[in-house]
Symmetry: C2
Subunit: 266 residues, 2 copies
């Protein structure tokens, strides 16, 4: 099946998902849209998030794709179920793969989730976790400063350490053994977060788990690309293509190739 | 969706999968058949494996189930694709979940697989791994003494250490970073295997990964049981029910409840 996998995100964060798909499924092609011009989605009204997300999806549907990954937790929390109902292709959000992996690794049935204000206030992770295991204890915390930090390219150093330290204080002494990085930007701060929470907490990154889920579903639907090829990925942004490419290359440590600016909405 | 998940195995090994399903999906009910009377399947003719597996499936279809897990690597390697085509419900084998998890964790694209003679000679893991990533290097090794050892309840001690030590010698110096326990009996020998291969090798257990895949697919198909309940599991064996129950309780460290002996075939 030679159509690409569509990946959409509010900006650069979804690249952590795209990178993992490229690593775990090296024959698959990706077409990516990052809505950097309107990033972050986290603090926005859900109706705006819904409209922006559909604009990206409708753009991708013109190019054809065999599967859609909503690589933005905020967008997935708001529109995943609706998109799943409307589209004939398989649709994967980043919330559920992270939730089921957390249930796999937690030993004391006690999980914490950090994410944007939009994701946390939607309660999407808590719902996904409790739907599967009503006994699981969930601590949720919004970390609004993280996405702007990452979009500025600040992944380490004093400012990152200070920001993470302050933001995570409410989780101190909560007693969870597993922490879901419930935003695809957060893996870029992984080392700083790891340092802050200590070595004993399992960190669940939406990107890794979502890529694994993409692999599973492509297999179960007989949609894997099985022959050999050098895949041609396509990256689009609603923002500045040069800046997107520079940060993408820096983050992904691979050449993402040509990046094109597109217009969405009016 | 209140139907149970069907789990079939050549004997006791599939209990490692059932246990993980019960842990990761505590609301779901399981109906299990272990064909202990004809265990092990590993050295058998594929046509016999095929017939025995269908006998278990046909027995479960009478009870109704919402999903089928072929928790025996040997059986999955032989009949999974055929069963997937024939049944209207989702069918999961243990080969593919292990393979995609190995591709997720391997850092040097070099994986080793141990399994029964039947599983290894089928090449099922190698095919599943290479279908997704042609570049991955795969070392495969059959370990025929492991299943009889485990079925006798020997998971540790001198005999287990000696058997594992000798069996794994051909893998020495191969250079893989990830080892798939490609038989659901093998997690019972996990500690001995871990000791033998050292702390730097990632061990992939089919049971954990298959349970995670069950969770994913139930979610994507809208088949999760979402209300609260105390699930009632059912365990059947073609062998001695008392012996099955004793070993199952010992392995799973939970009470599996009533175990019933059933007849399959003529």
């Amino acid at each position: 099946m030679d159509k690409p996998i569509g990946v959409i995100d509010s900006g650069l964060g979804g690249l952590t998902v795209a990178k993992e798909i490229m690593r775990q499924l090296p024959k698959e092609e990706i077409v990516y849209i990052g809505d950097s011009a309107r990033c972050p989605y986290g603090p926005r009204d859900p109706e705006d998030v819904r409209r922006f997300t559909w604009e990206m999806i409708n753009r991708l549907l013109k190019e054809q794709m065999k599967m859609l990954v909503i690589a933005c937790n905020t967008a997935a929390a708001v529109v995943l179920e609706e998109v799943k109902r409307e589209l004939a292709i398989p649709v994967i959000g980043v919330v559920h793969p992270g939730a089921i992996s957390a249930l796999k690794v937690t030993k004391r049935d006690h999980v914490a989730v950090i994410g944007t204000a939009g994701t946390i206030s939607s309660g999407a992770y808590e719902k996904a976790l409790k739907a599967i295991n009503s006994e699981v204890k969930v601590d949720s915390l919004a970390c609004p400063p993280f996405v702007p930090l990452v979009e500025r390219g600040v992944f380490s150093g004093d400012e990152a350490v200070r920001t993470v330290d302050q933001a995570l204080t409410p989780l101190d002494e909560k007693g969870f053994d597993t922490l879901i990085l419930g935003c695809t930007h957060y893996p870029l701060l992984r080392e700083v977060i790891r340092e802050r929470v200590g070595p004993d907490i399992e960190l669940i990154s939406s990107g890794d788990e979502t890529a694994r889920e993409v692999s599973s579903l492509l297999y179960h639907k007989n949609l894997l690309y099985v022959d050999d090829r050098q895949p041609q990925h396509h990256f689009y942004t609603t923002g500045d293509a040069k800046r997107f490419k520079r940060l993408a290359d820096q983050w992904m440590e691979i050449d993402v190739g040509h990046v094109e600016t597109i217009q969405l909405g009016e």
